[in-house]
């Protein structure tokens, strides 16, 4: 339960097999944990009811960023000691009232007095936040972050986490709903990467080896073992998030308490990421019951949240339930639905007292999360006969976390989680192929085949069961050494991911691919459980230091080192297959309390997907005999099947090298903040597919009898009359992709114009990405040519290419707030300023770097020799690259949101996405399309527990 901001990064130690290295990592923390002393500012004040000025006893008062925390006394007084300098958010909670957040800038010494008023509805508070916090910090993190709290989430009219993330810079707005896979990646320009699954390939956000980590309730969600992909040779594209980040539709917005988007360099606690992390806390603990219902023409959603304290506050049981359904288009029957339920229990050995010398209690958090996400796109015979697909995912996650006091003043935390998702689905498509010889052989060798052809229904059943076993042991200490306040964290993570599903199954004769050139064979069905499990371990040490200098100057440094190991065997005790060290450092200097200069540098690493680590074999079927008489009984097809294993034993982590530098300025006491951050992020070694040449042979046979009309097929005469060679290209997963992104993010929160109670918030993002493929490349038509034509002796190959994308986006939010009326109106203008993509690479006839021979050999040609006459046959222009920039025109759209209190402390929200129904612009000569979703009106009603009970009566 993370609603109550208990000790952050609470320490812990895994009780199972403990390698020596983890003990060594823990040693500094243990040794350093001898001197603890609160250092910083004291905040005092009184908590009262806004309407009556009566004191609120036993209200929890805490820093949002973590400790310290306390409770008000019988007359509503509180005192927080040891508050660190910098921007802080004071959060005050009491059952029956809306949580109240008080942002303040804390100096290096002295006492601050802040009285806080509570109200039953956040809309009637003097201050309500409907955007990401302008100076927000993720708990325990110093890197640049966007923090989105419950008030902003409630105002966002989002159906899933994806809608909430629109509050971060550079993310485009979209109507709420469950249609389409929703994935997220921080700080990339949207460019296709030319990877698997489609001719253009997925975007950078969709590649598993690039990605943003999603951490829910302290445990990472993982999509690494999702194998719902048809592979690089398939013609069917499956509607799945496989090969990339998790599908965010799985996380309902209604159950979110807080979202921290670490855009900068995360601390060493977090692994398996290349582009930041999203830390998600779900609603739990003592939560006033609340029922929310939403309706718009596409989406219907209802959710219930409630939590009850027991045993004098030492225990709390809470639950959330969400059910949603989206029909993507009134013209189609496509629909998606979700059922999501969370149950959380917290046991605590002692309540929060606020006493400075009070020991932190033992806390045991238990969670069980169930999520069901169904997407059905049924066949519409009058529109696209034969085409249909469905994806039914059901996941269960169990999560236990024990924290408490450790030895010598340390704190520990143990986390264990088991996550299993049952993925059932199918996709079918009507396919057409010409009459051709065919074999269904599953192993290498020659076989009598038969003839197939015509239309058929490629019906693929997908049965996946990805598992994630996760554990974390962590120990923290807060010593004071050499004039610095330290916050030391050492820990280790163990992960094991595997897939126990029956796999990708279909009738071999009716595969999800119809093209066959007589050499490149059809893929065969694949069992997912044939892929061995992937065990990984991560060890880290992180220290966050604070030093306060005279004249209100403070320096914060967060440095850490993380080691991630991909193991060779099935468990963690096996040898390392690949290991990576990731140093990370972020520093923030505050010459004045209102000015913060921040910079960071560090590495992170991401694991390739299970599908890339254990790819299925590739099949090649070579036609030896092709005898197709009019009488079917006389026909004879003989084919030889070759299997090639594309597994790359050297495939390992992709590594991201990140840098950022920024400035943050608070302006006076007006609540205005300006933040500008520049960053550079280079992900190297992303998992793509390398083209590996190989060779197979084709045997030609004479027939025993070539007479037609005998009523029986002929037989082949051994041995073969001749044998020739055929080059093939194997798609081998390889760490050959690089993604470089540079950009600037700007956030400006203007102070409220008090006369009209209106505030302006602006977020801008400009990003340029370069995606490059390091491996050699061939022309597919030329591969077909050399495989089909014996007179082609060689074909050229080229070096990889680079794809460039640029995007700039500004989002304006105008927020009008009338506390007395309990009214908030939010107007959002998304302004798409620039979006360009183009390919960078030579396309002329001298761009080739070598050639492939018929026996599968690569022969490089020195640049100076490429003009020689003997290479005339391979001097061919390279096609497929688009060096001409493709630019989408600038445009904008406006969305509106109106939230108003209802009698009984309820809330009514009306939203209008793209209220002016701006279409954007269609594709035309020289520019690509920019099309916006059409207007969508909807409403949302929130009934608090009291009103809900009243309604039920």
């Amino acid at each position: 339960m993370r609603s109550d901001p208990g000790p952050v990064a609470a320490p812990g130690l895994h009780t199972g097999r403990v390698p020596l290295c983890i003990l060594l990592l823990f040693a500094p923390a243990l040794l350093a944990a001898q001197q603890r002393a609160p250092h910083g500012v004291t905040i005092t004040g009184r908590v009262t009811v806004a309407a009556t000025a009566e004191p609120v006893p036993n209200a929890l008062v805490a820093l949002e960023a973590g400790a310290p925390a306390t409770r008000t006394d019988s007359v509503g007084r509180y005192q927080l000691v040891g508050v660190p300098p910098g921007p802080q958010v004071l959060i005050v909670r009491s059952i029956g009232f809306a949580p109240t957040r008080v942002p303040l800038t804390v100096g290096t010494e002295g006492t601050i007095t802040r009285d806080v008023s509570l109200a039953r509805s956040a809309l009637t508070l003097q201050r309500v936040t409907v955007t990401a916090e302008p100076t927000g910090r993720a708990r325990g993190e110093l890197g640049t972050a966007s923090v989105i709290d419950r008030d902003a989430i409630a105002n966002q009219s989002a159906t899933s986490l994806a809608g909430v993330l629109e509050l971060t810079p550079g993310v485009a707005v979209a109507p709420p709903g469950l249609d389409g896979v929703q994935q997220f990646s921080i700080r990339t320009a949207p460019i296709p990467t030319g990877g698997p699954a489609s001719p253009l390939g997925p975007g950078a956000a969709d590649l598993a080896s690039f990605g943003t980590a999603i951490i829910m309730d302290g445990v990472p969600l993982s999509n690494n073992a999702n194998l719902q992909s048809a592979g690089p040779r398939a013609e069917l594209v499956l509607p799945s998030s496989a090969g990339g980040g998790i599908d965010l539709r799985r996380i309902p917005a209604s159950t979110l308490e807080r979202v921290e988007v670490i855009r900068g360099i995360p601390s060493a606690r977090w692994g398996d990421l290349t582009q930041g992390a999203v830390i998600v806390d779900t609603r739990a603990g003592e939560v006033a019951p609340e029922l929310v219902a939403r309706y718009d023409p596409a989406t219907v959603e209802a959710s219930f949240v409630g939590g009850h304290a027991m045993a004098g506050g030492l225990q709390a049981l809470s639950g959330t339930f969400d059910i949603a359904r989206t029909r993507a288009s009134p013209l189609r029957d496509d629909r998606a639905s979700r059922v999501d339920a969370h149950v959380a229990h917290r046991w605590s050995s002692a309540p929060v007292t606020g006493a400075a010398d009070a020991a932190l209690p033992w806390v045991l958090d238990s969670r069980a999360d169930f999520s069901q996400l169904y997407a059905d796109n049924p066949e519409e015979p009058n529109v696209l006969p034969g085409y249909a697909n469905a994806s039914h995912d059901r996941s269960l996650r169990l999560n236990e976390r024990l924290s408490g006091p450790g030895p010598r003043g340390t704190h520990f935390a143990l986390t264990g989680a088991l996550d299993v998702t049952q993925q059932r689905g199918f996709t079918q498509s009507l396919m057409t192929r010409g009459a051709q010889p065919f074999t269904d052989r599953l192993t290498s060798g020659r076989a009598i085949g038969h003839f197939i052809g015509g239309q058929y229904l490629a019906d693929v059943k997908i049965d996946g069961t990805p598992w994630l076993l996760y554990s974390r042991a962590e120990l923290t200490a807060a010593p004071r050494r050499f004039g610095f306040d330290h916050h030391l964290t050492a820990g280790g993570e163990l992960r094991r991911e595997w897939n126990a599903g029956a796999g990708f199954q279909y009738d071999v004769e009716f595969p999800p691919q119809s093209f066959f050139n007589g050499v490149a064979g059809f893929d065969r069905p694949r069992r997912y459980d044939a892929a061995p499990p992937v065990p990984t371990s991560g060890w880290y040490l992180d220290d966050r230091l604070l030093r306060i200098f005279p004249h209100n100057v403070s320096l914060e440094v967060q440095g850490g080192l993380r080691a991630d190991v991909l193991h060779r065997g099935r468990w963690w005790l096996s040898k390392s297959r690949d290991a990576v060290l990731e140093p990370r450092l972020t520093a923030q200097l505050s010459p004045r309390p209102w000015l913060r200069l921040r910079g960071g540098i560090g590495n992170t690493a991401k694991l390739p997907s299970l599908g890339a680590l254990s790819p299925p074999p590739e099949y090649y079927d070579v036609v030896n005999v092709n005898w197709y008489t009019s009488d079917p009984v006389e026909r004879l097809a003989v084919l030889t099947t070759f299997l090639r294993n594309p597994t790359n034993a050297d495939l390992g982590w992709s590594v991201s090298h990140q840098r950022e530098a920024g400035v943050e300025v608070d302006v006076g006491h007006t609540g205005g903040v300006i933040s500008v951050v520049a960053y550079r992020n280079t992900v190297m070694g992303g998992a793509g597919f390398a083209s590996i040449p190989d060779v197979i042979t084709r045997e030609h046979y004479a027939l025993s009898d070539s007479t037609i009309g005998t009523g029986q097929p002929p037989t082949i005469v051994e041995p073969a009359t001749s044998v020739d060679t055929l080059p093939i290209i194997i798609n081998r997963p390889s760490n050959d992709l690089t993604l470089l992104t540079r950009g600037v993010e700007m956030t400006a929160f203007f102070p409220e114009v008090t006369a009209i109670r209106t505030q302006l918030a602006v977020q801008g993002s400009w990003a340029r990405s370069w995606f490059s493929v390091a491996d050699i490349q061939f022309s597919q038509s030329q591969i077909d040519g050399i495989q089909l034509q014996s007179n082609i002796a060689r074909i050229p190959y080229w070096q990889g290419f680079e794809r460039f994308g640029e995007r700039s986006l500004v989002t304006w939010r105008v927020i009008h707030h009338q506390p007395r009326l309990g009214l908030v109106i939010t107007a959002v203008v998304q302004q798409d300023l620039k979006q360009v993509s183009r390919d960078i690479g030579a396309t002329d006839t001298l761009a080739f770097v070598g050639y492939l021979t018929r026996d599968g050999q690569l022969v490089p040609v020195p640049p100076g020799d490429r003009t020689l006459p003997q290479y005339a046959d391979i001097r061919r222009a390279r096609v497929g690259l688009l060096p001409q920039p493709a630019a989408a025109p600038g445009d904008w759209l406006l969305s509106l949101q109106v939230a108003k209190t209802l009698p009984g402390d309820g809330r009514l929200s009306l939203y209008a996405f793209n209220v002016l129904n701006r279409v954007g612009q269609y594709e035309r000569a020289g520019s690509t399309a920019r099309l916006y979703p059409s207007v969508r009106f909807g409403l949302e009603v929130t009934l608090p527990g009291g009103a809900f009970a009243e309604m039920l009566r």
Partner: protein
């Protein structure tokens, strides 16, 4: 000391505005000044202009004797219908020549037009010709021109169309597409007809496909393939197949026809519409992945490329250029690369060409933003204007008939002008309609 708030806000506003201005989209455009699309909508933002086109018909000087024999005063073809079609459009405009041999189109859109004429001779007219011209069955001609406002004048000389020998009587490269059911690419065929009065031996004769058209893409401009288009010396072949035999093993009598199939099988069980039973085809081409019917003789692949379908003979459906040729030694033919598709082409000399057609698919339904490099992939001396076809399932391109000989044999039109020589109709392989 605090920063003055107003200054900071002013600077911030300024920074945001500068960011917006700096990031104004820079839209890349094709050089399309004055270009209009097939619907007549100007895509360059200019003004739609109308023009008058005047076409004066004359007679090719080599054929003035024919005009004189027909009694055309002053050699002027009067009352002849002239057809004009704007590039990319399927709408055909017609006008008849006046007594001065002039046809006029008024108030038409500017743009590239192909103008074509065929004047079929009836039996009475044919009887008036000299003995050496008795194989002339029509006069025809075509030209391509750019019509500009206020008007464009042009002249078109009609030439005699002769029967020839082996001709393409029917050609099906349609890829049947049934909405939602996909497309089927393997039931193509070419039907050949002996249009002469003597037996033709197919042995070693060649059936092939020439260089197709291309669009003017900024990244792949037309100059890259211009050497392969409209070559007066011959036809650049993408692929060629030869009939088996080396002597007189495969005769085709006068009035005889044969069908050459891509796949000599019954395609009708394999796709619901637009395909044929070709299991009784006379010849087939075999690739590396299709079926080989041993009861149907195979054509011999000569290179320089095998169609990528793996099923043998396959015509790209947008700009097919089927041709027939006398046997040639392919090793001696000049080769030239197409640097765009990476393939080599071989040039078949024009004096070896027996018959050739050029076809252009109706692209008006496509939203291609680049203009085509040419509407005539073949040099006008070989074929003057392409036939414009719509790509209807089950339809094929069929050579028009111009009458029958006394023995009942049909004679097909061959004015070396595909635009006039062919028509689209439901396919009838194995028979002349």
């Amino acid at each position: 000391m605090r920063l003055p708030a107003r200054s900071v806000w002013a600077l911030t506003f300024g920074a945001v505005l500068l960011l917006i201005l700096a990031c104004e989209p820079s839209v890349v455009r094709y050089p399309t000044a004055g270009r209009t699309d097939t619907t007549g909508v100007d895509t360059s933002g200019g003004v739609i202009r109308k023009a008058t086109l005047t076409v004066r018909l004359t007679i090719d000087p080599r054929d003035t004797g024919i005009a004189n024999a027909l009694g055309w005063a002053g050699g002027i073809p009067a009352g002849v219908q002239v057809a004009a079609r704007r590039a990319g459009s399927s709408i055909e405009l017609t006008a008849s020549t006046d007594s001065a041999g002039i046809a006029r189109y008024v108030n038409i859109l500017e743009g590239n037009y192909s103008v074509s004429v065929v004047r079929v001779l009836d039996s009475a007219e044919n009887a008036r010709l000299s003995q050496s011209d008795r194989d002339v069955n029509a006069l025809g001609g075509a030209l391509a021109l750019d019509v500009k406002a206020p008007g464009t004048d042009s002249a078109l000389a009609l030439a005699a169309g002769r029967r020839g020998s082996l001709v393409i009587s029917e050609f099906s490269d349609e890829i049947p597409y049934v909405g939602g059911l996909g497309q089927y690419s393997y039931s193509g065929f070419v039907e050949l007809y002996n249009n002469s009065d003597t037996t033709i031996y197919l042995d070693g004769k060649i059936i092939g496909n020439g260089q197709e058209g291309w669009w003017q893409y900024p990244t792949h401009p037309c100059q890259l393939i211009s050497p392969l288009l409209g070559d007066s010396i011959g036809v650049w072949a993408l692929w060629m197949y030869a009939f088996p035999g080396s002597g007189r093993e495969h005769p085709l009598p006068p009035g005889g026809l044969i069908v050459v199939a891509t796949d000599a099988i019954d395609h009708t069980p394999l796709f619901p519409e637009g395909v044929y039973d070709l299991s009784n085809a006379d010849y087939e081409s075999v690739g590396s992945s299709d079926t080989d019917n041993p009861g149907v003789p195979n054509l011999i692949w000569l290179g320089p490329n095998e169609p990528n379908t793996g099923h043998g003979m396959f015509y790209f459906e947008l700009w097919p250029v089927p041709f027939l040729a006398l046997p040639v030694d392919t090793a001696s033919l000049p080769r030239q690369p197409n640097v765009i598709n990476g393939k080599y082409y071989q040039r078949v000399p024009r004096d070896r060409i027996l018959d050739i057609g050029q076809f252009e698919f109706d692209l008006s339904a496509y939203s291609s933003s680049a203009p085509p490099c040419t509407t005539n992939p073949v040099h006008p001396s070989l074929d003057q204007s392409p036939f414009f076809f719509r790509g209807l399932d089950g339809y094929s391109e069929q050579r028009r008939g111009v009458g029958r000989l006394p023995d009942g044999r049909k004679i097909l039109l061959r004015t070396r002008n595909s635009a006039r020589d062919f028509l689209s109709a439901p396919g009838t392989p194995f028979q002349l309609p």
